[in-house]
């Protein structure tokens, strides 16, 4: 499927508006899923399901949001992502920016790594694959 970055963005905007109940003008490229758009952990699963449907792609479990890292006790302790966990996340998500997250690795804030732009890049790479 050939889609321009603008078309991909518009579709992702629609997905996030439906999944998170936000207004479309809130879904800017730099908006973070948890911080700016109020996503909670279950919303990540919802977003993955909706992206698959919207773009007719298959997203393996943990591919976009590496949940199996966050379920592993060696990577998450007392609600914080451990150093080992951050290293693992960095390896899995080479394009994400971890600088803010490393200051306060609260597991509930892990979604702040994910911006709308990061999702657009991910989907584009899937469409090109």
């Amino acid at each position: 499927m050939s889609m321009s970055p603008e078309e991909v963005f518009e579709k992702i905007q629609e997905v996030l508006v439906d999944a998170l109940g936000v207004d479309d003008d809130e879904v800017t490229p730099n908006a973070t899923l948890t911080g700016d758009l109020g996503a909670e952990s279950i919303d990540f699963l919802d977003i993955v399901f909706r992206l698959e449907k919207a773009f007719d792609i298959k997203i393996s479990q943990g591919e976009l949001f590496p949940d199996n890292v966050l379920q592993d006790p060696q990577y998450v302790q007392d609600g914080k992502v451990t150093e080992k966990g951050i290293a693992e996340l960095k390896e899995r998500l080479p394009h994400a920016d971890f600088s803010d997250f490393e200051q306060d690795p609260d597991v509930n804030k892990v979604g702040e790594i994910f911006t709308v732009d990061a999702i657009c890049k991910f989907v584009q790479s899937k469409l090109q694959a």
Binding site: D18, A19, S41, I42, D43, F44, L45, D46, F49, E52, K53, Q61, D67, L70, Q71, D72, P73, V76, G79, V107, N108
Partner: protein
């Protein structure tokens, strides 16, 4: 004792669809509080939309649980959409039709419809097609695989004997 907001399972197609029915009755106390007579009007017994949502959650929850042989603890995690176009009252039968959209290790996405038949139409033998009441989309989490790494008891406190009795009494053996 869990409140059951469905009476019978009419159809259970593994991993695809579950249909449940519920008869709404004036013997149910909540109908007398929702809404009682007020100064200028008589009592208006309406089955609350919140309990319709719970009935759908139980229907869809069985569908999601059955898909993984009731090994997971299936918890309602998110109501994506719930729209209603009609009040439901005593003497009517609700139909919950839940369909599984997607399931993986962490959870599942479902959607479906709520419909109603008025039993007085059945008695008078007038055509009684199911009338649409609403539409719902709902997500469930397999909570032992939650993202926060929280621990829950080993026993499956979601799918208790009450659910298996309901299935058995609906003629469904699993």
């Amino acid at each position: 004792m869990r409140w059951m907001w469905i009476d019978r399972i009419a159809e259970l197609d593994k991993g695809r669809r579950c249909v449940a029915v519920k008869n709404v009755s004036l013997a149910e106390e909540h109908l007398h509080d929702h809404f009682p007579a007020a100064q200028e009007r008589r009592a208006l017994p309406v089955h609350p939309a919140t309990l319709i949502i719970e009935g759908f959650a139980q229907t869809a929850g069985i569908l999601v649980g059955h898909a993984r042989d009731f090994k997971e603890k299936v918890i309602l995690a998110k109501i994506g959409k719930a729209t209603f176009s009609r009040d439901v009252t005593a003497g009517q039968t609700l139909f919950f039709t839940a369909e599984l959209e997607r399931i993986d290790d962490t959870g599942a996405s479902t959607h479906g419809t709520i419909e109603v038949i008025d039993q007085t139409d059945v008695v008078s033998n007038t055509a009684a097609p199911r009338q649409p009441v609403g539409e719902i989309t709902m997500m469930f989490s397999h909570i032992d695989r939650n993202m926060q790494g929280l621990d829950f008891p080993d026993r499956n406190f979601v799918f208790t004997d009450q659910f298996f009795d309901l299935l058995h009494n609906s003629g469904i053996e699993i």
